[in-house]
């Protein structure tokens, strides 16, 4: 059976200069897009369970905060070290706000905040502290671990490089 010429051309294209230029442009665009704008990431760790699971794949969308700033409730990617190591956390307070944990409940400026994404029991107690200028306060969703073992806190907005794509 002889394949249709167009089908054969699709799977086995002729290596003409035009084809090579098109292929190079596609490769370059893919490299720029997935290298700088929509970066593939593998989630390692349990600090954002059950919202995000250990071992799953996602993308870091770097254009989210091009014209805006993170707000409470946003799940963000915080650059930890270099360009490849990031923390996935949720913003619970923004600059100028006072954040506190009392009996496992999050309080911002003295008001209890409803957190439907926190599914596991939490008994954290953290005295009130002010979020500094140019910073946000980030915490993971998985709060069943002791507070001392959970990596959370205030970080500079400049370290927030994007958001998970889904």
């Amino acid at each position: 059976m002889v394949a249709h010429p167009r089908i054969r051309q699709f799977f086995f294209p002729s290596l003409t200069p035009q084809f090579l230029i098109r292929a190079s442009l596609v490769a370059l665009c893919a490299y720029l897009f997935f290298g700088s704008i929509c970066i593939p990431m593998r989630i390692k760790g349990y600090s954002m369970e059950p919202t995000y699971h250990n071992g799953t794949i996602n993308f870091c969308w770097r254009l989210q905060y091009l014209f805006s700033e993170p707000t409470r409730g946003d799940v963000v990617m915080v650059r930890l070290a270099g360009n490849k190591v990031v923390l996935l956390k949720r913003v619970v307070a923004v600059e100028g706000e006072q954040v506190e944990f009392r009996g496992g409940k999050l309080l911002v400026d003295g008001n209890t905040i409803d957190e439907p994404y926190v599914q596991y029991p939490c008994d954290w107690n953290l005295p009130p502290r002010q979020v500094a200028q140019g910073c946000v306060y980030v915490v993971g969703d998985n709060r069943k671990e002791p507070m001392e073992r959970h990596n959370f806190g205030q970080t500079s907005i400049k370290r927030i490089i994007g958001v998970p794509l889904w």
Partner: protein, 165 residues
């Protein structure tokens, strides 16, 4: 014939650029070498002999100026220390570990002044304690190296604290 001439000219230009870049990066290579040595001497394989341990700890001290400023609240090692004190701290820490791997990535090296190198990098520490507990830590480091006598030595090491409770 004309095409060959242009190809030869292009090849010579490219070779020239590569050669210039190669020689200009000599100081950067020397700085990177110091990080490689630090990584090699801090790392520990299982069943490491006493002689090797002693050799490594002694040589760790040769990488630092006197005094060297450390800012590492995460491991309670903040202050100004002599190379011997730093080597002693490293030795005591290594004692509790069955194996340890310290690797440096994404080195960003700048030379703001003569005989001074500012390096921002990622440090990854993987290991296992003698009691079986696993260690896996990654941190950003900001370091300063100086070149007092032709050898780059660490003068300031800071572990960047990304999240402050």
């Amino acid at each position: 014939m004309v095409k060959i001439k242009y190809i030869v000219i292009a090849a010579v230009v490219i070779l020239g650029i590569v050669a210039v870049r190669h020689f200009l990066q000599t100081e950067e290579k020397k700085v990177r070498k110091q990080f490689e040595l630090l990584s090699e001497w801090v790392s520990k394989g299982p069943g490491e002999s006493v002689l090797t341990t002693s050799y490594k700890i002694q040589h760790i001290a040769t990488l630092f100026v006197k005094p060297c400023v450390f800012k590492a609240d995460i491991i309670a090692f903040t202050g100004s220390y002599t190379p011997e004190e730093i080597a002693g701290f490293a030795g005591r820490s290594r004692f509790y570990l069955a194996d340890l791997s310290l690797k440096f990535y994404d080195l960003n090296i700048e030379f703001p002044e003569q005989a001074m190198a500012q390096v921002t990098l990622t440090a990854k520490l993987i290991g296992k304690t003698k009691s079986g507990e696993y260690i896996d830590a990654t941190h950003e480091l900001k370091t300063l190296l100086t070149n007092p006598e032709g050898t780059w030595l660490f003068s300031h090491v800071e572990v960047v604290e990304v999240l402050q409770k």
